[in-house]
């Protein structure tokens, strides 16, 4: 998708895009200024986006293959409340929950743009986020009213189909969780074995004293390029937990930014990337402690096989006046092969004097002493590796609160591990 083809894509689609004309115009102008990032930019040093920048990924014009959609629907879609196929809301597979607003953002923008305009595009993001703002056609809008505790987890499923030509989806999620409300959300991206681009943006407002738990599972097909910009703003005393799991796609990049914009806000950001072949997963996070008495905990773990590469860049900012901030960041990587590579980079920018901030990173292999111990008890080499890889991952997996998501992940991960152990 060269910059020029993105700009002409905007011109082609603009008349049909739902709402937000001014915002979109500004966004495409910003994208035009920025262009696709290159390796010369520090934030993109390890992640080469040329496979996306040098090839066209237009919005698909044709309907997806019905039988494939049907097949996907019986698997990952079974539990979904909001389902999206190639970026568009699929009402036939959706069963929106009660007691909370969860609906198609595209429909809402057609019907009542005033309901969402104040919340959309409040932060800039980079080139990919700007491109999403300019081009998105659909996505999810979630609103949890004040004081409402939503008991059942909300599942948002984004499926890609397999198509003859490369294509793009730019899904957008806007979630507003009001004062004292709570919800668990599971966002899943899956499907599609042909080349495609997913360029998602999530904006989340966590109101005063609200609790939000967000699991994101990315298990896209082997030729997918997955980009996501997630912007979270937390008000006073709110609690936000995220679990970002990257398993699929040839290349994936998550930019997760959390602004602790009220006193005493807490966030915990967990991540797990499990890669093989020539996969690359890049997680950039920024935790911005803007107010005092904030707490952040961050734990990202990588399991890297083949010639895969995992990138973790964790930035923690403590603004002047954000006293009594308590931040801990950890990144651990397990390399299963000589060709795998992990890059880890903590960035602490501390402008307050009464704070506790710690960070640590490790890159290691499976411990041969431990492997031998297990084998000396009769456990085969592959099974021993499986046990140890699972043990490494479980710190992150066990914290995923949505049981069916956690269980499916465990199965998927163990499956993946046994396939890889056989190589």
């Amino acid at each position: 998708m060269t910059k020029e083809s993105c700009l002409s894509e905007y011109d082609r689609l603009e008349p049909a895009l739902p709402g937000l004309r001014d915002l979109r115009r500004r966004a495409i102008a910003r994208f035009g200024e920025l262009g696709f990032p290159t390796g010369r930019e520090e934030e993109w040093r390890f992640t080469d986006v040329s496979p996306v920048a040098e090839r066209d990924f237009p919005h698909p014009d044709e309907e997806p293959d019905a039988s494939e959609v049907e097949e996907l629907a019986s698997g990952p879609l079974a539990k979904s409340q909001l389902a999206f196929v190639d970026g568009l809301y699929a009402p036939e597979f959706s069963s929106p929950p009660h007691g909370v607003t969860a609906e198609s953002l595209g429909d809402l923008l057609d019907r009542n743009p005033a309901a969402v305009e104040p919340f959309l595009g409040r932060t800039d993001g980079g080139a990919f986020a700007a491109l999403n703002t300019a081009l998105f056609r659909d996505g999810a809008f979630v609103r949890v009213p004040r004081g409402t505790a939503v008991a059942e987890p909300l599942h948002l499923i984004f499926l890609s189909t397999t198509r003859a030509k490369p294509f793009a989806a730019h899904p957008r999620i806007l979630a507003v969780v009001e004062e004292g409300a709570s919800i668990r959300i599971a966002e899943c991206h899956a499907g599609g074995t042909s080349p495609h681009l997913t360029n998602a943006v999530v904006e989340l407002e966590v109101g005063e004293g609200a609790h939000v738990d967000w699991s994101k599972i990315q298990r896209e097909g082997p030729e997918a390029y997955h980009f996501a910009t997630v912007q979270v703003r937390q008000a006073r005393g709110s609690v936000f937990a995220s679990h970002s799991i990257s398993l699929g796609a040839a290349l994936s990049r998550n930019d997760l930014g959390v602004l602790l914009d009220g006193e005493g806000a807490e966030c915990s950001l967990d991540g797990l990337y499990e890669l093989g072949g020539t996969q690359l997963a890049d997680n950039h996070t920024t935790i911005d402690h803007a107010k005092p008495h904030g707490t952040s905990r961050e734990l990202y773990k990588g399991i890297l096989d083949g010639r895969s590469r995992g990138v973790f860049d964790g930035r923690i900012v403590v603004r002047p006046g954000a006293q009594k901030t308590d931040a801990i960041q950890t990144n651990r990587n397990l390399l299963l092969s000589a060709g795998a590579l992990a890059n880890t980079k903590p960035q602490l920018e501390i402008f307050a004097n009464d704070v506790k901030c710690k960070h640590g990173a490790t890159i290691g292999k499976l411990d041969p002493d431990v492997l031998f111990y297990l084998r000396s008890r009769g456990i085969g080499r592959e099974e021993a590796q499986r046990l140890l890889i699972h043990a490494f991952a479980c710190e992150v997996l066990d914290a995923v609160p949505v049981a069916e998501v956690r269980e499916r992940l465990e199965e998927y991960l163990l499956d993946l591990v046994s396939r890889k152990a056989g190589v």
């Binding site: 411990d367 041969p368 002493d369 431990v370 031998f372 111990y373 297990l374 084998r375 000396s376 008890r377 009769g378 456990i379 085969g380 080499r381 099974e383 021993a384 046990l387 140890l388 699972h390 043990a391 490494f392 479980c394 710190e395």
Partner: protein, 248 residues
Amino acid sequence: MLEIRDLHAKAGDKPVLKGIDLVVRPGEVHAIMGPNASGKSTLAHVLAGRDGFAVTGGSVAWKGKDLFAMTPEQRAREGIFLGFQYPVEIPGVGNTYFLKSAYNAVRKHRGEPEMDAADFLTLIKEKAKLVELSDGLLTRPVNEGFSGGEKKRNEILQMAVLDPALAILDETDSGLDIDALKIVGHGINALRNRDRAIVLITHFPRLLNYVVPDVVHVLIDGRLVKSGHRELALQLEAKGYGWLEGGK
């Protein structure tokens, strides 16, 4: 059952075992004693199949088969158990889950059906009484945060569960206080039977006050220089190893 013939082995580049001959029959308890760096642990690890040791001569037959043709897990499934001098900690792997995986791997090898979690829990709780290991330690990750004595008791628990034909216990007594030593000794004695052979590898004779061996061997500089009965251990207790090292 175990026949070691003229075994030579290196640890890294260094020749450590320089011609070991030893035959162990079912039901026998052998003690192999020796000073530091005499090759005791190398012998244990070579028998269990650890990387980093190269067999440079001789042979070991296990129930008539070439031991060195088997992977470590095959040796374990064929009934050889190594009790580690330094049991490793395995964060994230529950002790019971680990033992169940090992137990079922052995059963599968024997052509027996795998045991389910509930039945296994009953079994392991019963066996844990033998070494006075609390239920809490069964649910914790393997050896994580265990005291030195608890780790060694956990080794004997594994031995009890896996029911090996041959147990090689490498310095199982090291680092134990007198109470822990009694518990471990009692556990080993309870596991003695006509079919099971035990090889106790130890520097100090004190374990042999609790577990009385049939034969005592002295290993010095990679060779078994003397074999005898329990009295040999008592002599070593009184005189140390010096009087046997003269011939080097």
